[in-house]
């Protein structure tokens, strides 16, 4: 079963991350690299990506003739997707365990951040014989 683990962060997280002490930044990055490595080694990682700062994010809609019309990031959005993992696991509980590990990534001062991770199943299940 495949699950997507979506890590959301508050709007200002990207800037505040840059103001952390170097040691904390390195610990955080080291943790994330280690997590990905361990998921690859356990044969569970399908893909993982971190997303660039929402500063440059645009909302796109089709305008006349289908041409893209872009709009800036809405100031009212409080949370942004910062990155995601797709994992292939035997049980839902295992997906939750991995999410909890990611959530506990070390923040400033090395204390766990306990970030909210949204866990959703990917629609990759097999169809059964229908009536």
């Amino acid at each position: 079963m495949k699950y997507i683990l979506m890590m959301n962060c508050p709007r200002n997280a990207y800037e505040s991350f840059g103001s952390w002490p170097q040691k904390d930044i390195q610990t955080h990055i080291g943790f994330m690299l280690g997590l990905n490595k361990s998921l690859r080694e356990s044969g569970e990682l399908v893909s993982a990506e971190g997303l660039a700062s929402p500063q440059e994010a645009k909302i796109v809609r089709a305008g006349k003739d289908g041409a893209p019309v872009t709009d800036g990031v809405f100031p009212e959005s409080k949370e942004f997707l910062a990155g995601y993992w797709i994992v292939d696991v035997e049980t839902t509980e295992q997906a939750y365990k991995i999410a909890a590990r990611a959530s506990a990534a070390p923040g400033q001062g090395g204390t766990p951040m306990n970030m909210p991770i949204e866990v959703r199943q990917v629609m990759s299940g097999p169809p059964e014989e229908m009536l």
Binding site: E41, G43, L45, V122, S124, P127
Partner: protein, 412 residues
């Protein structure tokens, strides 16, 4: 140049025999399996150029053994134990080509109960099926590196569990055979119910499951459950062409164009299950195959012998405590005794609780409610089923059913 289909088939058939021979000589399963993969890859590049050798099995064993020797030499060097162990290696030109077939022992090893289902599947496809890691990764839509790790961890678990490479005791064998058949069944289902990804790669998975189950059947020709599983696969796979519409939409069994069913596969499956049932040791795969045969033998949906299906599901539910069997039994009961009989059985399943939140329960209830003429409730359950399924074709099908009923259409 690439290998022609005949030689490719030959390679795949020889893979487990070669691995068995190398394993008997060197005993290290993990390294032997790697060496055989390398020998298969060497054959794929050399045979089209040089022709298939006179003794392909011997050729593969020799190449794999040479790789093993190289590997052991480097291991020995690494461990600085040259003098003691190098003497054990013996002559590298010695060819072990005894006509002993270890395929069955390999099946038992790869489907060891210590492994998780996904590990056992991956290892069986590689070590017995002769597929490359890239091919397996492609079929399961995961990166090759992830699949390689899954296989390597499976090998480690086998090593850690200390299972010797030999056939289990007769008492243990029937239980272990059940695990092998279950893994083959799972491989078949992965391919048969392919909903996403490179369809060809997935379809090959069910052909591969059929090929491997045939191999087990050849090795244990008198086992009725092996025959039952092979028959079940053939009778199910026979409907493949009719199962999806041109846009990839699901077509339910009752609405399939039965002229598209594969008659040869049906005949083979029916012949197999008939022989199996006469052996007098009825099992769950045989009963499922018998049910598939009843469907396959009806020229039109309305010719289906539902009382026969009901009787077979009744036997199956006495044999296994599986709520999915109860669900299918309820469908058959509705077809024989009318929708209220089926709906009563679904209520019992609600009380049972094991299918709580399962989309199949909603989908079946929706269908029976529609048969009973309760349109509103049917719409509600089609929608609930659509929300709960994790299969996109299934969701599309259930949503369409709900929409059709909302617009007051009769079933076409």
């Amino acid at each position: 140049m690439s290998l022609d289909a005949g030689s490719e088939q030959l390679l795949r058939d020889l893979a487990p025999q070669v691995l068995g021979a190398v394993l008997r000589r060197f005993r290290d399963f993990s390294a032997a399996e790697d060496a055989v993969q390398e020998a298969l890859i060497a054959a794929t590049s050399q045979w089209p150029r040089d022709g298939v050798p006179e003794n392909p099995r011997g050729w593969l064993i020799q190449v794999a053994s040479r790789r093993m020797t190289d590997y052991l030499r480097s291991e020995v060097a690494r461990r600085r134990r040259e003098t003691a162990a190098a003497a054990d290696l013996g002559s590298e030109t010695a060819i072990y080509d005894e006509e002993q077939d270890d395929t069955l022992a390999l099946f038992f090893m790869c489907c060891h109960p210590a492994l998780s289902p996904s590990s056992a599947i991956a290892l069986t496809l590689r070590a017995v099926g002769g597929l490359t890691t890239a091919e397996i990764a492609n079929a399961f839509l995961v990166p090759e590196a992830t699949m390689a790790q899954r296989i390597s961890r499976a090998k480690q678990s086998i090593k850690a569990s200390g299972v010797p490479f030999q056939l289990p005791d007769p008492e243990e064998q029937s239980q272990r055979l059940r695990a092998v058949l279950h893994v083959l069944y799972l491989i078949f289902n992965e391919g048969y119910t392919a909903s996403v990804g490179p369809e060809l790669a997935r379809r090959e998975l069910s052909s591969e499951a059929i090929r491997l189950t045939r191999a087990v059947h050849d090795l244990l020709p008198d086992d009725a459950e092996v025959m039952g599983l092979l028959a079940l696969m053939l009778l199910t796979d026979a409907r493949r062409a009719a199962r999806m519409g041109p846009g990839g939409e699901l077509i339910p069994l009752t609405k399939q164009d039965r002229t598209q069913w594969d008659r040869d596969q049906i005949s083979e499956g029916v012949a197999l299950i008939s022989v199996a049932l006469q052996k007098g040791s009825v099992g769950a795969y045989q009963l499922q195959a018998a049910i598939a045969a009843v469907h396959d033998e009806a020229a039109r949906t309305e010719d289906t012998d539902w009382p026969q299906v009901l009787a077979l599901y009744d036997l199956l539910r006495r044999m296994s405590d599986n709520p999915m069997v109860e669900l299918n039994y309820a469908i058959a009961a509705a077809m024989v005794h009318g929708p209220p009989a089926g709906l009563d059985l679904l209520d019992a399943l609600d009380t049972d609780g094991r299918l709580k939140g399962n989309h199949r329960l909603d989908a079946v209830r929706a269908h029976l409610l529609e048969m009973a003429g309760d349109r509103e409730a049917a719409i509600e359950h089609y929608r609930r089923g659509a929300e709960r399924t994790t299969s996109i074709p299934e969701r599309n099908y259930l949503m369409t059913q709900a929409a059709r009923l909302r617009e007051g259409d009769e079933e076409p």
